[in-house]
């Protein structure tokens, strides 16, 4: 039974694609599920659950079921399974195999991703307004979901890369969602290209491994023997193949996971599905990126890149947290916090804390999903409030004042207007801030900083600082959105959303907080006994034998205390700055106390640069256009080179002409130009017709021949 389930794992990524295909080509039916009374009193069909949504939900549910079955299978038989492997093509003397790889890590990730996608699909049903849009939305969503599932089930870096790239395409297809919006498209493109930088590094790494090992299957690449060999094979200068490959994979991961999700929501854009899209694309992308690192863990541990990974992770964590702390746009805030969280994961892997990293990754996916959904709910509520204030009588297509529903400075006091959302968001925020005991994040974070504490001290401090900042930026939106008084009319009239939206959030909130208990380290006082750490041993079976280099899940007490203190401090600071009293409003704009504080401290530039108004993109653009101009100029040069060859030919020809007509040819030329004929010469001769002279000539010549022929005795 179990092998059979594993064998079916390939269906998991296939299902979303089939569903997408079905939606793309299927009949355009809409199912009416509800009618509503409009203010004018007439019944109008308002809300549909479209066939696309149904297909998508059914597909994701099926995928989830399968994933759960696979997870069950791995629980029953932990360890690595490769139930399927077929020949793909041959290159050189090697045959490339492709198949399925199932292990606890993959199974957990599968469940996580399918679950997130399923919930998000259900949740987005209430968002989607019209059928074509739904179609496009679900196709892109399913595309991405399928891609990340593909990344998870394959046994082969090549296939992983394939799906990895499809994931990029999935994000890219968002452009299709916003066909007419140039700005959004441009940012999607920009993101794609940035990702592409990472991808090309990854491809390089892949090519390197392929060339050195002759295969890209995990079992060949990450076997102890291979890894050891790669670690000792020199490649570029002092770097070994393993190191270079690890760095390249790291580049791929960063390229995939670190860039912000596309600037999704423009002020006043009507589509509401965007946060969900962001969730699916963003969360899945991040998981895929980190999954690569987790997969390649055996290689990383043997390479010289571990410290680099840890440092990069720390830097990302700190940077993301810093930037998240100052954002006033909720979506951007969440995006930067995602980046920061990925940094934590990388840092964990960098110190060899495999289980902790994975745990952090999964937990993050859960609470970030929660936060995203809550943010979507808030924005939706705000829009409803906005519609309420601008009146129902105005038809949809008439242009009216737009609001930026993601701007937290325009919110405030929503706790009572949207209580369910508020509770969910709070739960997510606390999880994000890794508040002890109340969140899943605490355990993993504690472990990571503990690990760093014992190996690299300065990064450990940085990481602790990042945790504090994360806590601050988790509290900040809570305070800004839900506490004090509303700061705009839309916020004043905002309303709680329908159950289809709030219920999934509620369920999710419970999950997000509860799951963390699965990973409490054994050494933790009291709780360590209460809930034995099942997670670590379970996932560590994913690693092949001889590769378990996992930092024991001990909890050093110094970092733990520092971490708790910093977290609490961050939360308190957030509340103190934003939740204590209403923000002052100057004119139209709300003053952000943080920025005001930074200004007062004489660091205005800091806030701005953290907000991203640094102009780096412009500079890069200018450099780019200079390069392009140079390239085009070079083209002219080459053309000129060819032309000059032609000119040399022409010149030679002129020279010949000169010789022909010049001093060398002067003698010849006197022959070449007809000699002058003088009149008096002619007059003497001009008695008979010319023909006769010609005739004479001829007769003479003919006679001559005759003479020769007759008297041929020479």
């Amino acid at each position: 039974m179990v092998p059979f389930i594993f064998r079916l794992a390939w269906l998991i990524p296939a299902i979303p694609y089939l569903a997408a295909l079905l939606i793309g080509s299927g009949p355009k039916v809409s199912v009416l599920i509800r009618t509503r009374r409009t203010p004018s009193g007439r019944k109008r069909k308002l809300t549909f659950v479209q066939a696309p949504a149904l297909v998508a939900i059914a597909g994701m549910a099926f995928a989830l079921l399968l994933s759960l079955a696979v997870l069950w299978g791995t629980v029953a038989q932990p360890g690595v399974h490769e139930p399927l492997s077929v020949a793909w093509f041959s290159l050189g003397t090697e045959v490339m195999q492709v198949g399925i790889h199932v292990d606890p890590t993959a199974a957990l990730m599968l469940v996580m991703v399918t679950l997130v996608c399923l919930i998000a699909s259900i949740y987005s049903v209430s968002y989607i307004r019209d059928e074509p849009q739904a179609r496009r939305f679900f196709i892109t969503a399913l595309f991405s979901a399928g891609a990340v599932l593909g990344v998870l089930v394959t046994d082969n870096l090549l296939v992983l890369f394939l799906f990895w790239q499809l994931l990029g395409v999935g994000s890219y297809l968002l452009t299709d969602l916003w066909r007419e919006r140039r700005e959004a498209q441009r940012s999607v493109l920009r993101r794609f290209i940035v990702t592409r930088v990472g991808d090309s590094m990854l491809l390089f790494g892949l090519a390197l491994l392929y060339a050195e090992v002759g295969s890209l299957a995990y079992r060949d690449l990450f076997s102890a023997a291979t890894v050891a060999r790669l670690a000792t094979t020199p490649y570029l200068g002092p770097l070994s193949v393993a190191t270079v490959a690890a760095l390249m994979l790291l580049g791929g991961t960063i390229g995939k996971s670190a860039p912000l999700p596309p600037h999704i929501r423009l002020p006043g854009a009507p589509e509401g599905a965007t946060p969900v899209a962001a969730l699916i694309h963003g969360a899945t992308t991040v998981s895929a990126g980190a999954y690569l690192m987790i997969r390649a863990f055996p290689l990383l541990t043997q390479s010289g890149a571990m410290a680099v990974i840890a440092l990069v992770g720390t830097a990302m964590a700190l940077y993301g947290a810093l930037r998240a702390a100052v954002q006033s746009n909720i979506e951007r805030l969440l995006a930067f916090s995602t980046m920061s969280q990925l940094g934590f994961v990388l840092a964990a892997l960098g110190i060899g804390a495999y289980a902790a990293g994975l745990f952090q990754l999964i937990m993050h996916a859960f609470f970030k999903a929660l936060l995203s959904m809550a943010a979507g709910s808030i924005m939706q509520g705000l829009e409803r409030g906005h519609r309420h204030t601008s009146g129902h009588a105005v038809p949809l297509h008439v242009k009216r004042e737009r609001i930026d529903a993601a701007d937290m400075l325009k919110m405030g006091g929503l706790a009572f207007r949207m209580p369910l959302t508020a509770i969910s968001f709070l739960a997510g925020s606390l999880a994000l801030s890794s508040l002890p005991l109340a969140s899943a994040g605490f355990w993993s974070l504690g472990e990571i900083s503990g690990g760093l504490w014992s190996t690299l001290l300065p990064p450990a401090w940085a990481l602790a600082l990042a945790a504090g900042l994360t806590a601050f930026s988790a509290m900040r939106p809570v305070a800004l959105i839900f506490l004090t008084a509303p700061r705009s009319r839309a916020a004043t009239y905002a309303r709680e959303n329908k159950l289809a939206m709030t219920l999934p959030m509620g369920v999710w909130a419970l999950l997000a907080t509860g799951l963390g208990w699965l990973g409490i380290p054994r050494g933790f006082p009291l709780l360590g006994r209460l809930s034995p750490n099942w997670f670590g041993p379970f996932v560590s079976t994913s690693l092949g034998e001889g590769l378990e280099r996992i930092v024991p899940m001990t909890l050093a007490w110094q970092p733990a205390i520092v971490g708790v203190l910093l977290t609490l401090g961050g939360l308190a600071a957030g509340w103190w700055l934003y939740g204590r009293k209403s923000l002052s409003i100057q004119g139209d704009a709300t003053v952000d106390p943080l920025h005001a504080a930074l200004d007062r401290m004489g660091l205005p530039r800091l806030g701005e640069s953290l907000l991203g108004k640094f102009g780096l993109a412009d500079r890069a653009g200018a450099l780019g256009s200079r390069t392009l101009r140079a390239a085009v100029g070079l083209e002219g040069l080459i053309e000129g080179g060819v032309l000059s060859l032609a000119l040399i030919g022409r010149g030679l020809s002129e020279l010949c002409g000169l010789i022909a007509g010049g001093w060398v040819g002067r003698g010849l030329q006197s022959l070449a130009s007809p000699p002058a004929v003088r009149d008096r010469d002619v007059r003497r001769l001009q008695r008979r017709g010319v023909e006769n002279h010609l005739w004479t000539t001829f007769v003479v010549v003919a006679l001559l021949i005759a003479i020769l022929v007759l008297f041929q005795r020479v």
Binding site: G649, S653, C656, Q669, L671, A672, P674, L704, V709
Partner: protein, 497 residues
């Protein structure tokens, strides 16, 4: 066996007879009748001559002690006579519309051809001189054929002055040969020359002193036959310098084909029969003398061709370059090299014939013969344009055409003989020649035909065109038979020695 000797002269005699017959007819018939019958009579005698070459067999024969009839001669004669027949066809419409003396034209053409045949076959310096003179006088008259026209006459004068001077130069060279050996026969000269320095008494004259003599002969022959760079008269004969045609297109074609082929045959004979291979003289002749001539011809023709705007001049320079390549065959002077020479020469004749047919047709409409007159030719006369393209490609050496086979063989043999520099220069000149070939093609195919009238193609001309196109292609793709002929012809000089 005097009678049988005359038998071997049948081609020449039938041409002369044809010429005399036409002259006779010319006295009796009026212009209109002549226009109708003249070309037919000429054609008949041309065909007769051509046919008779096939009846003569392959065995080498010395005719009247001054001519050699062998496979080589037969090959060249057939080539010449084939060209003659086509020239008659080609000239037909042109002559009818351009002159009131059609009979004279054909008669001159026949004399011209007869001269060419004799040049190709002669094995005696005296005979050669005489035959060249016949060729050159008939040629001069042909150039001046539109004699009422002043500029045509000037072209003829130029021909005459040049030609006569070169006759003198060549004759001087021959006189020295005679003086050294006491004979005018090639083979005997060769023997005598080898004996000259082999004998016990100290030689009268050192071989190096003969180099100027060789140069005289070479220059004279080559310039007379128009295959070298010194002959401004050839482009000049068909030029537009005064804003007018020097020679009509059929005449230009005749000048471009007959004397050159004949001249090459004579050159080959001189090289292989008269100059004993054992002697340094032979080497001197081949490499510095003929070789330099070849290089000069190739580069000069290609480079000056670039400057031409008149298509006849352009083709004349292209012809110079082409014959420069052919001269390489003389430089090699091996059996294969000689075969290659014949092949290249034949390919040249085919292409040149075709090109001049096209030019003749167009110049009936637009007598200035500027390249720009060919604008949009593809839309005005597709057959003409395609033919022109094909011939030009053949001249360039495009694979699939006869020109390629010739060049390929020549180049292969050159490589084998180790004349790498020569080869590279030939390739270079080929590339340069693309410049002007490209211009013709561009005018014909790319330029718009706005303001240009369609060009009607006379039936005879289209027959020639199609025949040449087919010939160029067939010989380019299935050249086996042709190559066998050429090999057989070349063997003549090597089988015995």
């Amino acid at each position: 066996m005097l009678i049988s000797d005359y038998l071997y002269l049948a081609p020449v005699l039938s041409l002369l007879a044809g010429a005399l017959l036409i002259l006779l007819l010319d006295l009796l018939a009026d212009r209109e009748q002549m226009g109708r019958w003249g070309w037919k009579a000429a054609l008949a005698s041309g065909l007769l001559a051509l046919g008779s070459t096939f009846l003569l067999g392959d065995a080498p024969v010395r005719v009247l002690n001054v001519l050699a009839y062998d496979v080589f001669t037969a090959y060249v004669w057939r080539l010449l006579l084939g060209a003659l027949v086509l020239l008659i066809l080609l000239g037909e419409s042109y002559v009818r519309s351009h002159t009131d003396e059609p009979g004279l034209f054909y008669a001159l053409l026949m004399f011209f051809a007869a001269g060419a045949l004799l040049v190709a076959a002669s094995t005696n310096t005296m005979m050669l001189l005489l035959a060249v003179e016949l060729l050159s006088i008939a040629g001069t008259l042909l150039v001046g054929f539109l004699h009422a026209d002043r500029r045509a006459t000037q072209g003829a004068i130029r021909c005459l002055v040049y030609g006569s001077a070169m006759t003198a130069v060549m004759a001087l060279g021959f006189s020295w040969f005679y003086g050294l050996t006491g004979t005018t026969d090639y083979a005997l000269t060769s023997e005598a020359l080898s004996g000259l320095w082999g004998s016990s008494p100290a030689p009268v004259i050192r071989p190096i002193a003969l180099v100027p003599v060789l140069a005289f002969v070479l220059v004279g022959l080559v310039v007379k036959t128009g295959s070298a760079p010194f002959h401004h008269w050839l482009p000049g004969a068909s030029d537009v310098s005064g804003g007018f045609v020097g020679a009509s297109a059929p005449v230009a074609a005749s000048l471009a084909i007959l004397p050159k082929v004949a001249g090459f045959a004579a050159l080959v004979r001189l090289t292989l029969v008269m100059l004993p291979e054992a002697l340094d003289l032979h080497i001197v002749w081949r490499w510095p003398l003929v070789g330099i001539l070849a290089v000069a011809a190739m580069l000069w023709g290609s480079l000056l061709g670039l400057r031409q705007h008149n298509i006849k001049r352009l083709m004349a320079f292209s012809g110079i370059a082409q014959l420069g390549y052919v001269l390489i065959g003389v430089v090699l002077a091996t059996e294969a090299g000689l075969s290659a020479l014949l092949v290249a020469l034949t390919a040249y004749v085919l292409a040149e014939m075709g090109t001049f047919t096209a030019i003749a047709v167009v110049s009936q409409k637009m007598p200035l013969d500027l390249v720009s007159d060919y604008r949009g030719l593809y839309r005005r006369a597709p057959l003409l344009a395609l033919g022109l393209l094909l011939f030009i490609l053949s001249l360039f050496g495009m694979p699939g055409t006869a020109g390629f086979i010739g060049k390929l063989w020549l180049f292969t043999e050159t490589f084998r003989a180790g004349y790498i520099g020569l080869l590279i220069l030939a390739a270079l000149s080929s590339v340069i020649s693309l410049g002007y070939y490209g211009r013709v093609v561009r005018a014909g195919f790319m330029d718009s035909d706005a303001g240009m009238a369609p060009v009607p193609v006379p039936a005879a001309a289209s027959v020639v065109l199609i025949a040449m196109m087919v010939g160029v292609l067939v010989l380019g793709i299935f050249p086996n038979t042709w190559l066998r002929w050429a090999q057989a012809a070349a063997q003549v000089f090597f089988a015995s020695g």
